[in-house]
Symmetry: C2
């Protein structure tokens, strides 16, 4: 049962001299992502990846349960870099709109090189039965990292947030990002410029919605929306 292929050693980038296994694993995923970016997911066979990485096909399967699981490496790597890159871009930005925009653009910067195989990537994201979906248990770590980032986006801003919404706002902003990412996946414009435009135009809107949420007339609406998110979204990951 013990799910051998989920990765013999999944641990963080601690010290540890990186066992032989860890190095092999890293070599396989690096090779795979390079090849995906270069010639696309479908065009890259497991045999080719194995050959290029200097291992046998079977060995690749020792570390990654399936070809699709290699994609999770992309998601993981992307959120890690997103978490690294965003704080720098947030510096000096004080309005919520600017900060949201910065976080979104940072993501687009990072994901850019992989746009070519993004479709294939999202194929998995949309399949709940596979453990690769951003909503799945397996992706929990990556997703949480990204949600935490939006908490930072919020906390550093001057915008006052209604107390009872503070908890779920990061989740909602993360959802907003998911929408942008979804658009990006479909974006055929050169350099995915339209996605960047979407981020730029959508960020102040999101910020304004947050600000307006304090209005009396909107109170019941906001309240219900909040409950909705709480009941239907957060429930999903029991701790």
């Amino acid at each position: 049962m013990s799910d051998p292929a989920s990765g013999p050693d999944d641990s963080d980038a601690s010290a540890r001299p990186a066992s032989k296994g860890e190095r092999t694993r890293q070599r396989i995923i690096d090779t795979a992502l390079d090849m995906f970016a270069e010639r696309g997911y479908d065009k890259t066979t497991m045999r080719a990846i194995a050959a290029e990485a200097g291992v046998s096909v079977g060995n690749a399967y020792y570390y990654f349960k399936s070809k699709e699981h290699l994609i999770q490496g992309f998601y993981e790597q992307a959120t890690i870099r997103h978490a690294e890159l965003t704080p720098t871009m947030l510096e000096g930005k004080e309005t919520l709109a600017e900060r949201i925009e910065a976080a979104l653009l940072a993501w687009l910067d990072i994901a850019g090189p992989y746009h070519a195989f993004a479709g294939q990537f999202f194929r998995n994201a949309a399949d709940p039965s596979s453990p690769l979906s951003p909503f799945s248990e397996d992706s929990g770590e990556s997703r949480d990292r990204d949600i935490a980032l939006y908490q930072e986006v919020l906390e550093g801003s001057k915008t006052k947030v209604p107390k009872d919404m503070a908890d779920i706002l990061p989740e909602m902003l993360w959802l907003h990002q998911m929408v942008v990412v979804l658009y990006w996946v479909y974006d055929a414009s050169p350099g995915q410029e339209k996605s960047r435009e979407l981020a730029r135009r959508t960020a102040p809107l999101a910020a304004r919605v947050v600000a307006l949420s304090r209005l009396k007339i909107l109170r019941p609406l906001v309240k219900q929306g909040e409950e909705l998110v709480r009941d239907f979204l957060i429930t999903r990951k029991p701790e």
Copy 2:
């Protein structure tokens, strides 16, 4: 170039004695959907479908470019039945909230039996490079049918709709449906009861948003949201 496998004869259910080809095609898709619903998408091999339908594997590929294209048959069939079923369910319903809810629940009723392989279905929906995505050219007919349905939902209601929003509202309600469908795909609750609850709770919210959109304070927000949808969503399908 002429894309032979997209279906030698795609025409509507007109009279016409149904050529041999049409019948074969129908037999294949019927068999496939049955088997998908029964044992799942992955577990159903093309060989099995062909055998069960009484044709050769190659013949199945004559009618459907790939296994995934069989899934488009599902989407098509679902929207056709949705368009048939909803009007009955709308009868006597006058408030916008009730009507939206009815349309959503109708969809859930229809899709219910296929929930088991919905994940696999959405895998395609999320891949823009494949022509199966609901946003793609190929799915245009099905999607438009569904959007038209929401126009009916709106028109039959008593709620007054701001003139400048009338055009895009059906699209927005369709997007709303997409969100519910997306949730449904991930829904692991027995009988997908949570999705129905989501539809029920979300319908009045959507209706209220439509109603509130006339408020002066919200005017700029609504205006921008509308432009956003127009610029980023409707652009997609040039005519």
